[in-house]
Point group: C2
Chain length 123, copies 2
């Protein structure tokens, strides 16, 4: 891997862009164990509105990470699933999960420290 492959205007940025929003990685992870309906995803994830979830799923679909399958039923039933390409992202995503598990406390401590320092200067 060449040094500059992580910098601006490089294809490596593609992966970062895919992770550069709140819900993409969360939804991908929620789909890791099989197809899910939107209502299931909302319960699994929690704290995401239907509109934002729909936007996220369309975004993932347009990047080839997720497929949409609609059943001809009433009431309507739709399922989303990871593509083969989407599944290849589970490994890297899990790496960040493990990182947060191991180092999350340190980040929170640093944030607190920074806030205390700012408050001391202000007061």
């Amino acid at each position: 891997m060449e040094p500059d492959e992580y910098l601006a205007d490089c294809r490596t940025r593609l992966a970062f862009d895919l992770m550069a929003n709140t819900w993409n990685p969360v939804v991908i992870w929620a789909l890791r164990s099989g197809p899910r309906r939107p209502v299931e995803l909302r319960e699994l994830i929690g704290g995401v509105s239907g509109k934002v979830l729909a936007e996220t799923l369309r975004r993932l679909e347009s990047n080839g990470l997720v497929t949409r399958h609609a059943y001809a039923e009433a009431p309507p039933r739709v399922e989303y699933a990871l593509t083969r390409l989407g599944r290849t992202l589970l490994g890297p995503i899990e790496a960040f999960g493990r990182w947060a598990h191991a180092h999350g406390d340190e980040v929170l401590a640093a944030q607190d420290e920074h806030e205390r320092r700012a408050a001391r200067q202000a007061g």
Copy 2:
């Protein structure tokens, strides 16, 4: 790792939030081989304005990932370096870099396909 550890309101989200902007991961990666001055970072990275780079560095500093060291010289000289905590992020970041190296073409192809499909419907 429990299933819901990647979902909303969980500490795992911390790591995703750190990656959820354009320049954080790029700057961390650019600092991987040692301390750098802002002007060096701008050359290394390319395509980032001084203001945005400064914002990114302050953001990373407030999260304990980067330290700032100012030398008492004229003209002013400042160096930024990864903390020990910041260095622990290099592994997960590299995982995404490798992913992009291996699968970037597939994402681009899926995007093109999606655009062509949209154009066909519009026309």
